[in-house]
């Protein structure tokens, strides 16, 4: 293991991106992503890397600037959060449709209103259908590793899709953790220069983002959807390459003490660490409880999830976002839909929890496992809401 240093995770995200030989960053600051934006600006202003920092007046502009820069063949990074991501929403499907490998860090935060700057996944879920590869991180080291891997995944000629790395706001962005950075030489070896499929240049005219009439739009959409599904192969390959070079192994679905578990907790993002402590506690008490963590949200890793939950009787899904007036939290709804026809599938219990920065403690996870035992149906429930 290399030397570990104490660093705030938001700063570390910018430092990791600085190792990736980026050409352009267009980042508009917003809590709790501001430290990424500020530190990225510092790194470029200080001349530590040869890149352009485009100062923009909004997130709509930052993602648009990224799209334009990426179309010229540049390696591009942006970061945002919550309302900023909502403002980017219009451009997100355009970036993926144009097959531009922009990488974004998203400091997950609740969406207004009422105004709340703290963590949940209410910002990324409305972007679910934008055609971006969507990764979740659990701790600071994963933020560093996945921010670097994201460029390799996004730019792979078999992929050519934008990638968003979700970093729980405050819970991760503002945490000071012991972190290990790869060296510049190691990153250079891992991440080759981008070889763009096409670039905007007057000598070689190309139309990107062309007009589609009704007689071709459906075909273009199927091509995009297929590209996103196919990206999983490359994601798995890049995870494995990282594991070989750096010794830290990544899977699209992670498991912890899940093999013989009768009850499984399913999480995304930073709460996985707390849940693993709760699993340890319950195991000590002789209970067959395990943990499944979705690292990849889009494309949805359905085969890997099926393998991870095999044999479990109850699957407790922790949803950190709401789909108002819908079937449940976005994660549970998706899983129920995929497993609908599976014989002997686990009973799925859906808790909406950890909203707008409310802490989810070890005791809360244990209480949710208790509550799940008593719950008769598969309707969703707000955990911890004051009745």
């Amino acid at each position: 293991m290399g030397k570990r240093i104490g660093m705030e995770v938001g700063i570390a995200a910018a430092e990791a991106v600085a190792l990736c030989n980026i050409d352009v960053a267009a980042v508009y600051p917003i809590t709790p992503q501001s430290h990424i934006a500020e530190h990225m600006a510092d790194i470029i202003h200080d001349g530590r890397i040869d890149a352009e920092f485009i100062t923009v007046e909004s997130e709509h502009s930052s993602i648009s600037a990224c799209a334009g820069a990426s179309a010229t063949g540049a390696r591009v990074y942006t970061a945002t959060s919550s309302q900023g991501l909502m403002l980017m929403h219009e451009i997100l499907p355009i970036v993926s449709a144009m097959r531009l490998p922009v990488v974004m860090g998203n400091a997950n935060r609740a969406v207004s209103g009422p105004l709340n700057i703290w963590n949940d996944h209410g910002d990324i879920m409305p972007q679910r259908d934008s055609g971006w590869i969507c990764l979740f991180t659990e701790n600071g080291q994963e933020v560093i590793d996945l921010s670097i891997m994201a460029f390799k995944i996004a730019e792979d000629p078999e992929v050519m899709l934008p990638c968003v790395v979700n970093i729980d706001g405050f819970q991760l962005t503002h945490m000071i953790e012991p972190l290990e950075f790869p060296t510049q030489a190691q990153v250079n070896k891992f991440l080759p220069d981008r070889k763009p499929y096409a670039t905007l240049h007057p000598d070689n005219p190309v139309t990107m983002g062309c007009f589609n009439m009704p007689d071709i739009f459906t075909e273009t959409m199927k091509a995009k959807d297929t590209a996103l599904w196919n990206s999983k192969k490359t994601i798995v390959k890049v995870f494995s390459e990282w594991g070989k070079q750096f010794g830290r192994k990544y899977n699209v679905v992670e498991t912890y003490k899940a093999k013989d578990a009768e009850t499984l907790i399913l999480t995304m993002g930073s709460m996985g660490e707390t849940a693993s402590i709760a699993v340890d506690e319950m195991r000590k008490a002789g209970r067959k409880v395990g943990l499944v963590k979705l690292r990849l949200w889009r494309p949805f890793p359905v085969e890997e999830l099926r393998a991870a939950i095999k044999g479990a009787k109850t699957l407790i899904v922790m949803d950190r976002a709401i789909s108002f007036g819908g079937a449940g939290g976005p994660v549970a709804t998706e899983i129920k839909s995929f497993l609908f026809h599976d014989k002997g599938r686990p009973r799925i219990v859906d808790f909406l929890m950890g909203l707008g920065g409310r802490d989810v403690t070890v005791e809360d996870f244990i209480a949710m496992v208790e509550r799940a035992k008593k719950k008769k149906d598969e309707t969703y429930e707000y955990y911890g809401v004051r009745e």
Binding site: M160, V206, T207, M208, C210, D215, E219, T220
Partner: protein, 102 residues
């Protein structure tokens, strides 16, 4: 479905023929797409009344009106959308709009 000879090839035919990002590498090939089929009306030029002033050419938002060898300004119906601006602007009243019946 039988295709008329005049119908342009709808390329790409299949979803897997779509280039990544539906990028187009042939400059100016939008001209191959005959958008004139959208029109509900077509302009009819009365050459007896036309004074060859070219005001229709100036106002045509589609830029599909060109001067021919005799000096008349004639709309290319392959691109004309039938908006009627030429007929509206033609002060000698040489252009009238007729229903597209094809």
């Amino acid at each position: 479905m039988a295709k008329k000879k005049t119908e342009q090839k709808k390329w790409p035919e299949k979803w897997h023929e779509v280039t990544p990002g539906c990028m187009v590498f042939e400059p100016g090939n939008a001209a191959n797409y005959k958008t004139g089929s959208w029109k509900a009306q077509r302009p009819i030029l009365d050459k007896q009344k036309c004074i060859k002033c070219g005001i229709c050419y100036i106002f045509c938002p589609e830029a599909c009106i060109q001067e021919d060898a005799e000096g008349f300004f004639v709309a290319d119906l392959g691109y004309c959308k039938g908006c009627g601006i030429c007929a509206h602007e033609c002060w000698p009243g040489a252009i009238s709009m007729a229903e597209e019946v094809e």
